[in-house]
Amino acid sequence: MKSKRVLLLPAILGLLWGVPATAGDHVEAAEEYETDSETGLIKAPGFDTVKNNCTVCHSARLFTGRGYTRKIWLEQIRWMQDTQGLWEFSPEVEEEILDYLETYYPPR
């Protein structure tokens, strides 16, 4: 039950902001999984990798409220690597992170 409540929060906030909270792919994909109460991340395949690599410096709240294409997610990673002190990922780790973000945090 708890995970359901947390999942609803983005939708509620969306209403507050006047942004239509449409039941898009994001919500459908997310509904199959619980949400991690500590980070707010969806506990789908790739969750541990994303948590370990993406929440060391900043909160996951920086990105759980929205979604982008794989290309823009990759741009963000490159920007952080070029200017913000993010370390390099192995190709496998990078794929896993991008797959996760693309699937569960797509454009809305």
Binding site: W17, G18, I72, L74, R78, G85, S90, P107
Partner: protein, 443 residues
């Protein structure tokens, strides 16, 4: 953007742990810092790598299970002293705003002042303000001078002004496709009173070459989120024309008291009319640059907008992005709260605030028919330039039913708030779409 820079290839084979330990720089990161000296982040240099960060953050803020924090979106997180209803967008870095009805105070008090942090602020308890210094230097400075806060207070004319600060990305949440950055709705704006000295007086005391000086860059005491001392969280500034204006200040007090920790204790810049990021917090240094300042978040796409209108979702080359300077004219309805129920016979007094990046709002109009007809509101003059302006209008409703009350401000240049979203831009800046509230008019 997607080019894989070879500068980083030497790091490819290292584990995360190795990189964390050595804190190695990428080539590009090092190059971008070529101008910036050692800042000595002091108490700000939290060990934010690894799980130590969580512990450190927990000691800095009250954690509670209050329903207000949950409603605001981040379970168990709040900043001590902020009003119930404060909307937390992020906890690391800390970012939060207010719903419009909590911005009704004429002078914004601490509990109702939005927070936009880029890094980790230095802990107030670790700062001895008598030892805090401001160093002015740079290519166009005649000399390097370091001032204590006491010296600033004693050497220069003290001024107190009420000046609004608005985040450049206020209103970003309305843009689609969603631009990167905090999804601010309406309330990343506030207008406290500030006490300090004019930046111009300090620059003149240091002395600078007027032919060479182009830009002011600030250096701040907040730590980069990564915990690395070689990276700045943010280092922006303003062109000289703005730096020497009467209302551009170095301040040590907000609303007559020490600046609160999250708002820049013990010293900050106030650069009126510009996006809030030009008003550097935890101020330690000012550079008088002979070029446009190139500190953190001055370059690339940060705080920049396309030089020409673009369609939503467009990719804009970096060379076509220009620095966001004066914020567009804007207003809010701060009373009553949206959704109010009124009796038709009583009518409704609507009140709010209006502000403009150039310093003067000339007129404010309200409409109850979606802009078909307009009623002029009573708009007060600002208490000083760059204070927000109070306005009010007494509205009568011709029938019962559901109404929207819209407010539109017009500045001294004749520029007026749009009722539709203004132009989409890659990072979602400058949304000054008119605000409205819903009103249920009953018999």
């Amino acid at each position: 953007m997607t080019d894989h820079n070879n500068d980083r290839s030497e790091l490819d084979n290292k584990s995360v742990e190795e990189i964390k330990e050595t804190g190695e720089l990428t080539g590009t990161g090092a190059a971008r810092r070529r101008f910036l000296g050692k800042l000595g982040k002091g108490g700000a240099a939290l060990a934010v790598f690894g799980m130590g960060a969580e512990t450190a953050m927990q000691t800095m803020f009250n954690r509670s299970t209050l329903s207000s924090a949950v409603a605001a979106g981040i379970e168990g997180f709040s900043v001590s002293g902020k009003v119930d209803g404060f909307i937390y967008l992020n906890d690391r870095p800390i970012n939060g705003e207010l719903p419009p009805h909590l911005l009704h105070d004429e002078v914004t008090p601490f509990p109702n002042m939005f927070i936009r942090n880029n890094g980790v602020p230095p802990a107030k308890d670790d700062i001895d303000s008598s030892e805090w210094t401001l160093t002015v230097s740079g290519e166009a400075a005649n000399r390097e001078v370091t001032y204590s806060i006491e010296e600033l207070k004693n050497k220069f004319e003290n001024v107190e002004m009420q000046i609004w600060i608005e985040c450049g990305g206020n209103g970003r949440a309305a843009f689609e496709p969603s631009p990167r950055g905090n999804q601010w709705d309406l309330g990343a704006i506030g207008c406290p009173t500030w006490t300090g000295v004019r930046l111009r007086d300090v620059l003149e005391d240091v002395g600078y070459d007027e032919d060479k000086a182009v830009y002011i860059g600030y250096q701040a005491g907040d730590a980069h989120l990564s915990g690395r001392d070689d990276l700045d969280a943010i280092s922006r500034g303003c062109p000289m024309r703005k730096a020497v204006e009467d209302e551009t200040l170095i301040v040590w007090a907000m609303n007559g008291e020490d600046i609160p920790e999250q708002h820049g204790y013990p010293l900050r810049l106030i650069t009126p009319g510009f996006p809030g990021s030009a008003s550097g917090k935890w101020l330690q240094g000012i550079l008088i640059r002979d070029r446009e300042h190139d500190g953190a978040k001055m370059t690339g796409q940060s705080y920049r907008v396309p030089a020409y209108p673009v369609e939503a979702g467009a990719e804009v080359p970096e060379e076509d992005m220009v620095i966001l300077e004066e914020m567009p004219v804007k207003s809010l309805i701060t009373s009553p709260e949206t959704g109010v129920r009124v009796s038709q016979g009583d009518g409704l007094k609507v009140q709010g605030k209006a502000w403009d990046g150039w310093g003067d709002v000339e007129e404010l109009h309200v409409s109850i028919d979606h802009g078909q007809t307009w009623q002029k509101a009573d708009l007060k003059r600002p208490v000083n330039k760059f204070a927000w302006q109070l306005w009010e209008a007494d509205i009568e409703f011709p029938t019962t039913g559901f109404y929207q009350v819209w407010a539109v401000a017009t500045n001294s240049k004749g520029e007026r708030q749009p009722m539709v979203l203004p132009g989409w831009n890659p990072r979602g800046y400058g949304n000054n779409k008119a605000h409205h509230i819903d009103v249920h008019v009953e018999a």
